[in-house]
Symmetry: C2
Subunit: 257 residues, 2 copies
């Protein structure tokens, strides 16, 4: 659990969660434990996605994947225990209990059979098959968008945002999530394992349907930029102190790993 | 998810949850969704425990295990999604939010790295090795006792029980869990796959440390009966309407599958 969760990562989701809390007038502290819980959920999903029965990846965050290091059984259980610990951490939040329940509900929506687990399943089942753009967008939304979007929503809930602010930040997160995933597809195509800390070129090998496969590199980059811009437009009803949320939107596209 | 979760099972944990709610003056309805969530958690743990990398079992509840039926990747993901759906279901409870948070917290304590996932990990790591009685009890407590005990605790929380009633039912559940697991060890030794709906004799094959291996059949049966009696003694501060909790304590020992 420590090996995978504390490995170097961007911590994009926790940072979005904290920034969303601040953007609705809350404190960083209101969202700090939730940010940790979200990173645990993200890490659980990476450990399981990397397993031999799924993507069978050897490298993650520049290190051997959990099952390469500790064996398959322990990797499965470490993922399970991180998932449980994430919800345990959420129940320790000091926010009013109705907010806590709402935040946990958002996290469950993002992770289950309408969220990242479903996205991974659809992704697996569509390998090597011709896939429509709509399916690709649905996979991206569930596999990556849902948790990124929930990170923003949870921060806004815990920071005490109004219903419209929570919705605006959820929508911002959805656009950022799309931009982030298109950039991920591009990096898989154009980068090296050294830069990424994980496999590169693997989507093409597995005949995965990706944005570059559908729209080419230039078209994909434009689609990512447009999604980031749409995300930034959602920020009108909140206070983006220091322009952090805008910077994170741009970072989702411009990042190098 | 449906295939494994709706397969015929005893539903002991949900029934305990409902009975605990009633025993503290609550309604069955207060605990009904939580009972479903607990069964989803139980089922998630069975799917993952049965995987080739773990216990590699082919038969469960009289049917091919999830990975035999749908493949390993889908089995891993179905377990993950059931775990997520369990927490999602808990956040939909109509009880006061502070009770809901407390109930979710109890469920996370029972499942993670102090609960059933840890029990499974310890169980795996101790296969084929000489194990002390203390370790065996710790494995049993985490792998089986924790969720059975949490089922009672959660029912009592949602039914509006007092702190001492919640604690009494948690303790009752712990004793029932121990009785149940000793009976499980006995059945693995003395029963057939047809009766059990899952593998029999497998503990001995894998050189697992069990109660019968330590105390023999008669000694184990007495230990299970004593645990059930200790459980029944915990019921003095609650109203065991219809003697259901007492009957469930005896059933944990007397059951045939």
């Amino acid at each position: 659990m420590r090996y995978s969760c504390l490995a170097p990562g961007k911590r994009l989701r926790p940072v979005l969660c904290l920034a969303a809390s601040v953007a609705v007038g809350g404190q960083i502290e209101d969202a700090l434990d939730a940010g940790c819980a979200i990173e645990m959920v993200h890490c659980f999903s990476l450990i399981h996605d990397d397993l031999p029965a799924l993507d069978d990846d050897d490298l993650r965050r520049g290190l051997p994947t959990c099952h390469v290091k500790y064996g398959e059984a322990i990797a499965i259980l470490a993922g399970d225990a991180l998932f449980s610990l994430a919800f345990h951490t959420m129940t320790g939040l000091t926010s009013p209990p109705e907010r806590v329940v709402k935040a946990i509900r958002s996290l469950t929506r993002a992770t289950g059979s309408d969220g990242l687990v479903a996205g991974e399943a659809m992704d697996l089942l569509s390998e090597g098959k011709p896939v429509e753009l709509e399916t690709l967008i649905a996979i991206h939304r569930m596999k990556t968008g849902a948790l990124i979007s929930a990170s923003c929503e949870i921060g806004a809930i815990l920071g005490g945002g109004s219903a419209s602010q929570i919705e605006a930040l959820r929508e911002y997160g959805e656009q950022i999530g799309l931009a982030f995933q298109i950039a991920d597809d591009l990096l898989n195509e154009t980068s090296t394992p050294e830069q990424l800390g994980k496999a590169a070129g693997s989507d093409r090998e597995r005949q995965k349907m990706t944005y570059p496969a559908l729209y080419g590199l230039e078209g994909s980059r434009n689609a990512a930029l447009r999604a980031a811009e749409r995300g930034i437009e959602c920020l009108q009803s909140v206070q983006d102190t220091g322009g952090i949320l805008e910077a994170l939107a741009r970072f989702s596209v411009e990042r190098l790993n």
